[in-house]
């Protein structure tokens, strides 16, 4: 079979390239996984052993505060660990507007230069763990070491700690989160006579939006969850309506169920009433920041951008938690990411673990929260006389975010290697139903079937 021989040759070349660039081939990855128990399998680094690792973070893609903070943390880490050199890099996003951070790492693996530590989003957890060969951290360093890392004086939020686990094995250490928050332009609302808006439910939101529309004549509302790129928070809206995205055992796609359809129908209603602006993701937050949209459901991560916009435009920025469907409890999902070890070299793995521990330490969160505005996963830091207490007090805008941490639902990752396609199908069905006149029920159910067929 000449074809398979040649293919094998192709594969071998690729693997050989991996080996050349300092990574270990797939075979040894399997061994390390197989030999793993609950005891640490990676060596501790010798006192003179020099290791250098690469760290891919999407925070490095944006100039300014984001990059500066991460680079600052890296140099702090390097000064604490003189033998470890960390090179930060941004993901490859230029190749296409829709390229995700996961596909960036995958592209690099294809080229044989995957980063040693990668900051990856939760939507691909299944894929990252099972296909991309992220290292099972709890097996590498031992269960206890992981728990120790989560603990400490300011332990990590219990809801958060499990988010990087797959089948009881910890693959990713949760790193930075944001939750969907309802932002609003308090000045504009006050101008319309709304001083105490009721955003606790979607009905309340609808009423406020109607009043605004009557005053200004334009659609005031933008919901980033409803367009491509916002599927993570759409999951939260669906779950808030009692819907489900994927079954607990991650084998069945369920976003065609009644709860999901109901949530979509609610959004559709807002659009039909002319309250919703149809914008793509980037235009959407630009619209809010520049005052062209007055209420926006958007990630809490954009806080600093909105604050800058509000300052420039001379209006007051306020926010609150995600609205509820009647009395059903709100189930906000987290966007955000965990840190994964991609390296197969034991020394690099050891260094990577040190680095991850540092990046999720209270020291790091102090920087990350105050300078970038991300939620501190060690939320106790904001309480009492914790290091972030003063910051939280002076920043009322983070309060809804911290409050939602307690009700946090995981951002579900779709099963199998077609996870990204399923996500695309989901987003398209949601957009079609809300903005483009398709019937929500049939559209969502058809999408569910289509997605189910891709689960292998």
């Amino acid at each position: 079979m000449p074809i398979s021989i040649r293919l094998a040759a192709v594969a071998v070349t690729a693997v050989a390239a991996l080996a050349l660039t300092g990574c270990v081939g797939g075979a040894s990855a399997a061994t390390s996984t197989g030999a793993a128990g609950s005891v640490a399998t990676i060596p501790t680094l010798g006192p003179d052993q020099k290791v250098s690792i690469t760290f891919e973070s999407y925070n490095l893609a944006q100039a300014g505060a984001w990059t500066d903070t991460i680079q600052g943390l890296i140099s702090t880490f390097e000064s604490q660990h003189p033998n470890i050199t960390v090179t930060g890099q941004a993901p490859a996003t230029a190749a296409g507007a829709n390229t995700s951070y996961i596909s960036s790492v995958q592209t690099e693996m294809l080229a044989g230069n995957a980063p040693d530590v990668a900051q990856l989003t939760f939507d691909g957890l299944d894929y990252i763990a099972n296909d991309m060969g992220a290292q099972p951290i709890s097996q590498l360093v031992g269960e206890q070491a992981v728990q120790d890392a989560f603990g400490g004086q300011y332990p990590m939020n219990a809801k958060a700690t499990k988010l990087g686990d797959w089948n009881g094995v910890t693959y990713g250490i949760p790193y930075v989160f944001s939750t969907p928050v309802l932002w609003y332009n308090a000045t504009a609302l006050a101008d319309a006579g709304i001083t105490h808006p009721d955003f606790s439910t979607w009905d309340g939101l609808e009423k406020v939006a109607q009043t605004l529309k009557a005053k200004t004549g334009t659609a005031p509302l933008t919901i980033s969850c409803t367009v491509t790129g916002g599927d993570w928070c759409m999951q939260g809206i669906i779950k808030s309506n009692g819907g489900s995205i994927v079954s607990a055992d991650h084998s069945t796609i369920e976003f065609g169920d009644d709860g999901s359809v109901g949530a979509v129908e609610e959004m559709r209603k807002l659009n039909d009433e002319g309250l919703l602006q149809n914008l793509d993701s980037a235009s959407m937050y630009n619209a809010f920041a520049s005052g062209k949209s007055l209420i926006q459901v958007q990630t809490s991560a954009l806080q600093s951008m909105f604050m800058a916009g509000a300052k420039a435009g001379g209006w007051q920025l306020k926010n609150t938690t995600l609205p509820a469907f009647g009395t059903t409890p709100v189930a906000p999902t987290n966007s955000g990411s965990a840190l994964f070890i991609m390296s197969k070299d034991p020394a690099k793995q050891a260094a990577a673990w040190e680095f991850i521990k540092f990046m999720t330490s209270p020291t790091a969160y102090e920087q990350i929260s105050t300078k970038i505005g991300y939620l501190p996963l060690r939320d106790t830091m904001t309480e009492g006389d914790g290091p972030l207490a003063a910051w939280a007090k002076s920043n009322p805008l983070v309060a809804p975010n911290i409050a939602q941490l307690q009700k946090l639902q995981p951002w579900e990752s779709y099963p199998g290697s077609n996870y990204s396609q399923i996500s695309t199908i989901f987003s398209k069905a949601v957009e079609d139903s809300i903005y483009y006149g398709k019937d929500p029920k049939t559209t969502m159910q058809a999408a569910q079937q289509q997605a189910q067929a891709l689960v292998k």
Partner: protein, 305 residues
């Protein structure tokens, strides 16, 4: 009593001038008999063409107009930007290393164009000067490469470039583009119309094929080479997908890639975005302004079979 010059040999013209009804209508302008074509008054032609030309140039004008407005006026709809301001350009200048990006791109485009030209000259020479077994098959091989979508070759080539260790280098952008089948075809067209006698004469003078190429063919094809070279340069300059793939982590290496990521990060700052876009086009516009004849030639020839 003397010689007289005679003209009686010329038959006297007996015109029936009385039948000429019209008065003497002297025409002052030279007109070719345009009535051979569909008669459209020239005014209509001018109007239509002015409209089309306006539609063609307006977006480009608007790009520069927006870029030169004061940032607060960026959304103004006045036709002329006033007062003029360089603030948007300053923003671009501060945010991205536009000069080095343009410099890098220039080096890249120049190398690509030069390589493509050399390879095309060689191949076209081989194709147009000899008859040899397998020629047609090989030629088909060249034409066929046009039919392979870039998206098909993208991934394997990306892997190969990374194996060669060329990711993130200008060489990585250049190497897969060294051979342009399109350039080979065009070059072949030119060479086929090269006067055979000149080559035969050079053969008689004892030159070998290499010498003929260097001393006879190329010197006489300078205009065609210039036209094709400029065209390839523009192609390379405007290429965007492949460089974006190669320069994954350095979005500031090449201008197209840089502008692409600049667009994403600048939100609604149209003044800065237009300034950056304008700067990315500027070198090509300048080339067009000064070498328009060659460019038009190059593209026109590409249309001739």
């Amino acid at each position: 009593m003397a010689f007289v010059p005679v003209a009686d040999i010329t038959l006297p013209v007996r015109t029936t001038a009385t039948t000429i009804r019209s008065q003497d209508r002297a025409r002052t302008t030279v007109k070719t008999a345009s009535r051979r074509h569909i008669r459209v008054p020239a005014v209509v032609g001018h109007i239509v063409l002015i409209v089309v030309a306006f539609a063609s140039i307006f977006p480009i004008y608007w790009m520069f107009a927006t870029a030169f407005r004061e940032p607060v006026d960026a959304s103004a709809q006045t036709i002329f930007p006033w007062p003029l301001s360089l603030d948007s350009f300053t923003t671009v200048w501060q945010q991205i290393p536009i000069l080095s990006m343009i410099g890098n791109t220039f080096v890249m485009a120049l190398s690509v164009a030069a390589c493509q030209l050399v390879i095309a000259i060689l191949a076209a020479y081989g194709f147009s000067m000899w008859q040899f077994p397998g020629k047609n098959v090989l030629f088909l091989f060249f034409i066929g490469s046009w039919l392979v979508p870039f998206q098909v070759t993208m991934i394997p080539n990306y892997v190969l470039i990374s194996q060669l260790g060329l990711l993130g280098t200008i060489a990585g952008v250049i190497v897969p583009n060294i051979c342009s089948a399109f350039a080979v075809m065009l070059m072949r067209q030119h060479m086929q119309s090269f006067p055979r006698e000149l080559i035969d004469a050079a053969h008689m003078d004892g030159r070998n094929s290499w010498g003929i190429l260097l001393r006879v063919v190329l010197p006489n094809m300078r205009p065609a080479l210039a036209a094709l070279g400029i065209m390839l340069f523009i192609e390379a300059w405007n290429n965007y997908l492949w460089p974006a793939l190669i320069f994954q982590h350095q979005s500031n290496a090449l201008v197209q890639v840089g502008i692409r990521s600049f667009l994403g990060s600048e939100g609604d700052n149209w003044g800065a975005i237009m300034a950056a876009s304008g700067l990315a086009c500027l070198p090509i516009f300048l080339i067009y302004l000064f070498l328009q004849r060659y460019i038009v030639d190059g593209f026109v020839r590409s249309g001739l079979r």
